[in-house]
Symmetry: C2
DNA sequence: TAATTATATTGCAATATTACGATATGTTTT
DNA sequence: AAAACATATCGTAATATTGCAATATAATTA
């Protein structure tokens, strides 16, 4: 196998739990999520001011969080306002909790 | 900066949360943790039978979980018995829950 | 002590992650 | 329309992750 081709061995739930965890696996993304969660939403620009990374790097991290389904972005004039995706946020919490309880 | 040299920007809590999440960020490791948690402990060999990966790969994943503090291994004759590290398991749960609640 | 069994480590390849600067795109303001 | 601002994407580099086979280590059995 070039990589793990065996995509069917693990359950959807296991894959999803891993996916959400991966989104949380970097301190920059933790900080982003805390910013978004403390205020209910946040503009890209405001986050860029708070975080010690280049704006292009911030965009990348925001994309990963978006791909994982944990946040969503809404264009608002020239800015983009990002918010937590409540539904998946809840799902992530449930899945990780379930794993860590069992 | 060659990489993120700014190691001091993030709090210990943010770093720890990311670290635990990273340990959970792979379906193989999710499966390992579920095996360890369903029975209270598990031998390397038994896990090797259950999982679709080479034994050397399993050893690597077990090492990562050990490095993250989520499991511990005890030598028992010719075998190694792995168990959940309850204390850090609890800490991981608290940290990730805190992040996902706030 | 030699052979066997169990686990870990090493070496290597493929791919992913993280970061940045430069450039592109899109919106507002002038 | 041009300039200014906000965000995204691209290209690239350094490092990390994931996987395997081969080899090493350590304990047990013969």
């Amino acid at each position: 196998m070039p990589k793990n081709t065996n995509t069917s061995y693990f359950s959807i739930e296991q894959e999803l739990t891993a996916r959400f965890s991966k989104a949380l696996s970097n301190p920059v993304r933790i900080a982003i999520l805390q910013l978004l969660n403390s205020q209910s939403c946040c503009f890209h620009g405001d986050m860029a001011d708070e975080l010690p990374i280049a704006k292009s790097t911030l965009s990348q991290h925001l994309n990963e969080l978006k791909d994982a389904g944990l946040i969503q972005g809404n264009i608002e004039g020239p800015n983009v306002k990002y918010c937590i995706n409540k539904e998946n946020w809840k799902l992530a919490k449930e899945l990780i909790n379930k794993l860590l309880s069992d």
